[in-house]
């Protein structure tokens, strides 16, 4: 998967959590929680979905890597490059 594909997957997962999520004007470098109606349980949903789809185990101390869309992609790119 390339960076764009990873970004699309993340948006797809978020849209599945909240179908009313508005991605227009989303700044990839600002925290997702400041821009979308997401709470800590939603982030755990994202982690779980990545685990189910790609068998990715994200350690709890690495959750901060998921703060922004670009940090998510940076973090996931090496893990999903071969998928």
């Amino acid at each position: 998967m390339n960076r764009n594909e990873i970004r699309d997957v993340l948006l797809e997962i978020i849209a599945d959590i909240d179908e009313e999520a508005d991605f227009a004007g989303l700044d990839d470098h600002k925290p997702l929680r400041d821009q979308l109606d997401l709470d800590s349980m939603d982030f755990l949903d994202i982690v779980m979905e990545l685990r189910k789809r790609y068998k990715l185990q994200i350690p709890e101390d690495e959750y901060p890597e998921l703060a922004t869309l670009s940090s998510c992609v940076n973090y996931l790119e090496p893990k999903l490059r071969h998928i």
Binding site: I17, D18, M48, R51, K52
Partner: protein, 420 residues
């Protein structure tokens, strides 16, 4: 029993709003129309491991009071509860400017909770070789026993007490009794109470009734729920919910509220003898206790809404208890019906849905019929049992609602026509 004293208007508790989701109905008006028309709400469900069985399923506007994402995060019982709560509050014309949300209590009767969610999660991790890393973080908030009531508080910003009452299939009545008591104690000013059931989502509940020989089967699902009929062969499991707004009479009158009826008597007792088998003599005692609390004689009850579920022994036990209690008035001033014949057994919601379905009788003076009673079991013979078509009376003064459950819990609620 001590002698009755006339309760004051702060001790008199009235029903001022009804919100419900029943098989085949998403409002009291539709529910009542179905009951009077003898229209069954039972269909079928195709359930994991179980195949297709008769079941009572509800269809209502699930996003009327909260978003789809909240329904996804929460439980089916929570979803039904939020809808029922919103409908009850709207029906009663109550908002936060009328009653302080901190002085509002939510008391929800549940037969069980968490079975559906646990089964689903076990199935889910089965797809991942039972690796518990795939067990959802939503499991605990979904399965704590206050879940449905708690989901209601979050949607409506109600900050008073909320909790569940576990009382098997007597739970709906038990929650109403809790509401009455909390209002009388002055703990709250508004009680939102009733019962909810999401049981149709659990293969285990179906399988357990089947193992017990108590799961109804019929080629035509609308005919599967048939209490008192010789061909009855068990329970039709249903989902559903019904919540009432209860208020002290003085406050209801002060705000000129619509009053459905007054809860004037109640009782709960225990058989103390068997895990599943009902026991008529204790049910009779329970009815006598409720009548005594209401200061009423048996002949003053106009409608007995039976608990009967369509099991062989359960129906017979209740009929015997009713015959002994109402020997002098049945078929004269007292009439009997059964709501489960229309909607199946909504478990924790059963008692309150069945009460709600009969409340309009205070206005239309009709006793809704028992359906599917084509070949009455002589052992269930009850003079005054209304079947096939509604019975019109000159006036309905009081409804006695029976609701019994496993582990031998019996509950009786008496609601009378409101007279100032």
């Amino acid at each position: 029993m001590t002698a009755m004293t006339t309760p004051s208007t702060t001790e008199r508790i009235v029903i001022t709003g009804v919100g419900l989701a029943a098989p085949g109905a998403d409002s009291l008006a539709t529910f009542r129309a179905n009951l009077l028309a003898g229209k069954s709400g039972v269909s079928t469900i195709d359930l994991r491991y179980m195949g297709t069985h008769p079941a009572g399923l509800c269809s209502f506007d699930e996003t009327k009071y909260r978003k789809k994402r909240e329904n996804k995060r929460g439980t089916r019982a929570g979803c039904i509860g939020v809808y029922c709560a919103g409908e009850a509050l709207a029906d009663a014309g109550i908002n936060a400017s009328i009653y302080d949300p901190a002085r509002t209590g939510i008391y929800v009767g549940l037969t069980e909770h968490g079975t559906v969610e646990t089964e689903n999660e076990v199935y889910n991790i089965g797809q991942y070789d039972y690796n518990v890393d795939y067990w959802t973080h939503h499991h605990n908030p979904r399965t704590v026993l206050n879940n449905p009531a708690g989901e209601i508080t979050m949607t409506f910003g109600i900050t008073g007490p909320h909790y569940s009452i576990g009382a098997a299939c007597a739970a709906g009545n038990a929650a109403l009794i809790q509401g009455v008591q909390m209002l009388r104690l002055g703990e709250v000013d508004l009680a939102l109470c009733g019962g909810l059931s999401e049981c149709v989502g659990s293969f285990g509940i179906f399988a357990s009734f089947r193992a017990q020989g108590a799961l109804a089967e019929h080629a035509d699902p609308s005919k599967a729920s048939r209490p008192f009929d010789l061909q009855r062969n068990g329970i039709v499991i249903a989902e559903g919910g019904c919540l009432f707004t209860l208020e002290r009479l003085d406050q209801a009158l002060a705000r000129n509220a619509k009053i459905y009826g007054e809860i004037c008597g109640y009782a709960i007792n225990s058989d103390a003898r068997d895990f599943v088998l009902p026991y008529g003599p204790r049910q009779r005692e329970c009815m006598h206790l409720a009548l005594a609390r209401a200061g009423m004689q048996p002949e003053e009850i106009t409608i007995i809404n039976t608990h009967a579920t369509g099991t062989k022994q359960g129906d017979i036990e209740e009929c015997q208890a009713i015959r002994e209690t109402f020997a002098s008035s049945m078929g004269k001033s007292t009439w009997v019906n059964n709501t489960k014949s229309h909607i199946g057994h909504a478990m924790g919601a059963a008692g309150v849905l069945e009460l709600a379905g009969n409340l309009p009788a205070f206005q239309d003076n009709l006793v809704h019929p028992t359906i599917n009673l084509d070949d009455p079991d002589p052992a269930c013979d009850l003079p005054g049992l209304v079947r096939h078509t509604p019975k019109e009376l000159s006036q309905v003064d009081a409804i006695l609602n029976n609701s019994f459950g496993m582990l031998g819990i019996n509950s009786v609620l008496i609601v009378k026509r409101f007279l100032a």
